[in-house]
């Protein structure tokens, strides 16, 4: 039998071609270039294009990179954990007690997006700073006499700022998965003897797992590579791998090393994300 495109298939390809070319140019091409670049070396102003693993070996052996990778993962996973932990009750409230005002609540959640992320992060400096809102308030309350210095410019501040900045992204997918739970399942569980707590752990949590895992991925993936937040509120103790990549690309003028760090970072994030997804699959096998 001859293989032919029928009209619909042709039409489909035509429709797809523009976004396809677009993503090829803007996504695949830079990624490929980055990948190639990571196997070259920078020799002052010239680029040595002989294939080498030198950059990867450096990325894997130099303690500073290991430290930054580990710190990035810890900060990002912690932020993810707290964001999801805080987002869940909010999503739960809107879904189960939002009544007729669900749309309003969801609208209110998007309000922070009306200001830029940069400004929101900058405001954390105003809140947590030496002469900031929090310190002034505590001094006014006479709870402290000297401003606290551990509030800002460390990893905790980064986690705090990320948790705040990404909360809406976690609330929405969790909300959707909670909305999808058939309410008669909750009545059935009560009818079969479950208390409210039993019901939460036996029905609500397992059935909202797709949303929770989705939310975790949505936050984990971009926050590992974040560099604005650590730069603004992280100080030196809160710097992350993306800050180093930026330095290598610009000031240090070592694009190949930066590329190798980027690719390594990409690999690590992909690996962890795949673990998340597989866990999701396993959990939801029965759906």
């Amino acid at each position: 039998m001859k293989f032919t495109f029928n009209n619909d298939t042709k039409k489909g390809w035509r429709l797809l071609s523009i976004p396809f070319i677009f993503s090829l140019l803007l996504l695949a091409a830079p990624l490929t270039m980055m990948f190639l670049l990571s196997f070259w070396t920078q020799d002052y102003l010239t680029l040595d294009k002989t294939f080498t693993f030198k950059n990867y070996i450096e990325a894997a052996t130099q303690p500073v990179y290991k430290l930054l990778f580990t710190r990035s993962l810890i900060i990002s996973l912690t932020a993810t954990f707290f964001t999801v932990l805080l987002a869940f009750p909010m999503a739960y409230f809107i879904s189960f007690h939002g009544g007729e005002r669900k749309a309003l609540w969801l609208f209110l959640i998007t309000i922070p997006f009306w200001t830029s992320y940069l400004i929101r992060m900058f405001l954390w400096k105003v809140i947590l700073g030496y002469n900031g809102v929090l310190n002034s308030f505590l001094i006014w309350l006479e709870m402290i006499t000297e401003p606290l210095t551990f509030l800002l410019y460390n990893a905790n501040a980064v986690v705090l700022a990320l948790t705040h900045g990404w909360a809406p992204f976690a609330i929405l997918p969790i909300f959707v998965s909670l909305e999808k739970i058939d309410r008669s399942l909750l009545e059935a569980s009560t009818d079969l003897g479950d208390s409210a707590i039993d019901q939460f752990f036996r029905i609500i949590l397992p059935l909202s797992a797709p949303g929770v895992i989705g939310a975790a991925l949505i936050i984990f993936i971009p926050t590992v590579g974040d560099y604005i937040t650590p730069k603004l509120v992280g100080g030196t103790d809160g710097l992350m791998i993306a800050n180093m990549i930026q330095v290598q690309f610009s000031k240090a003028n070592n694009a190949p090393l930066a590329a190798a760090l980027s690719v390594s970072s990409l690999m690590i994030v992909s690996f962890i994300s795949i673990v998340f997804v597989l866990f999701n699959r396993k959990y939801l096998r029965r759906y």
Binding site: L185, E187, T190, L192, R202, R286, Y287
Partner: protein
């Protein structure tokens, strides 16, 4: 008989809607009791009040003489089979069935035995590990039943459990449910809008309209002695004919142009003031067409207007005069019997002993 469930003057409003409007009823132990009524009459609300998912505005519900006031649904001796079955999608058949057993201190083997027993009871033996998404509607129904019955509730509540099934399966499940109820001996309260379902399955039926119970009776009584025109026309078909009635000792004297004069026993006439206006109710099968022998005076002349052949039976619409509605007549078919044609003139005979009257 022991009263298992007692509903005492219960009211339940949703805003302006009086969903349950002063209902009282008693259900004895081991009874198959049905709540029958048109959609929106408050059946589900009443069932949910018994289950504890709704709290009455006033009145009380007793189970085994114990007031259920303030007792949460998870602590009541009732279990429910939901209209959409509410099977937990993340659990397999056995896990669904065992869902309510967790709090009971049982060994693994005891649990497994109970699961197998209840699956056998509902005809799902061996499906323990089947994913709940791979079940058909009928199978989900059975899982929901097994899941509730395994807990040995005092009362099993069923909200339109068969309405989502196709006709054949529904009829099969009706008799299975009835059989199951006899085997387990648990009190069943079934909500349905299908009069046939209520009549075939129940020991007793409460007919509800607009949040109120209109009649509580056995299926036979409900059909043969409906207490109101509404009940009579909701359950099966009834011919209504206006007549003049008057009290005469223990009997009611009835007079009508085409039926002539006759008497009805008092218990066949409902309502208080029997003077003058009376509506007579005649079931279609009480009327026979061209009977072989009958007193000639009792014949009513008519003309066939419409014929519906239904296999075992035939329905006729027969015009008997301008001032009354055409009469619905039902005859049993037998092979080689006489065929009538539309427009044919026939003589009708009515079994007057079983006519009922409604007054007021």
């Amino acid at each position: 008989m022991i009263n298992q469930v007692e509903v005492k003057n219960v009211y339940k409003n949703f805003g302006d809607v009086k969903a349950v409007d002063g209902v009282s009823l008693e259900i004895s132990q081991g009874q198959f009791f049905s709540l029958l009524g048109p959609s929106g009459c408050g059946k589900t609300t009443l069932l949910r009040l018994i289950a504890g998912f709704e709290m009455p505005n006033s009145g009380d519900i007793l189970i085994d003489n114990k007031s259920m006031d303030g007792i949460a649904p998870n602590l009541r001796p009732t279990n429910m089979v939901f209209q959409n079955y509410a099977i937990f999608p993340h659990l397999n058949v056995a896990e669904n069935v065992a869902y309510g057993l967790r709090k009971k201190r049982l060994s693994k083997d005891e649990k497994l035995e109970m699961i197998n027993k209840s699956l056998e009871l509902v005809g799902l033996s061996g499906l323990n590990n089947r994913s709940s998404n791979a079940l058909s509607g009928g199978q989900k129904q059975r899982v929901a039943l097994a899941r509730a019955l395994i807990l040995k509730p005092k009362v099993l509540l069923l909200d339109e459990p068969l309405s989502a099934l196709d006709k054949k399966l529904r009829e099969q499940m009706q008799s299975e449910l009835r059989h199951l109820q006899r085997v387990v001996g648990i009190t069943f309260i079934l909500v349905t809008h299908d009069q046939e379902e209520a009549l075939t399955m129940s020991d007793k039926v409460a007919v509800m309209f607009d949040g109120k119970v209109e009649q509580i009776a056995s299926p036979r009584e409900l059909y043969e002695r409906p207490s109101s025109k509404r009940v009579a026309s909701f359950i099966g078909t009834m011919n209504f004919i206006d007549a003049i009635g008057s009290k005469s000792g223990e009997k009611i004297k009835v007079e009508n142009r085409i039926l002539g004069k006759f008497e009805l026993p008092q218990n066949q006439v409902s309502g208080n003031h029997v003077n003058n206006k009376l509506t007579l109710g005649i079931r279609p099968e009480l009327i026979s067409i061209n009977p072989r022998k009958s007193k000639s005076a009792d014949f009513i002349e008519g003309e066939i207007e419409e014929i519906s052949y239904l296999g075992e039976t035939t329905y006729y619409k027969i015009i008997c005069g301008k001032d009354i509605e055409p009469l619905n007549v039902l005859t049993q078919n037998s092979f080689g019997q006489m065929n009538y044609k539309v427009g044919e003139k026939v003589k009708l005979n009515i079994d007057k002993d079983n006519i009922v009257g409604f007054s007021g």
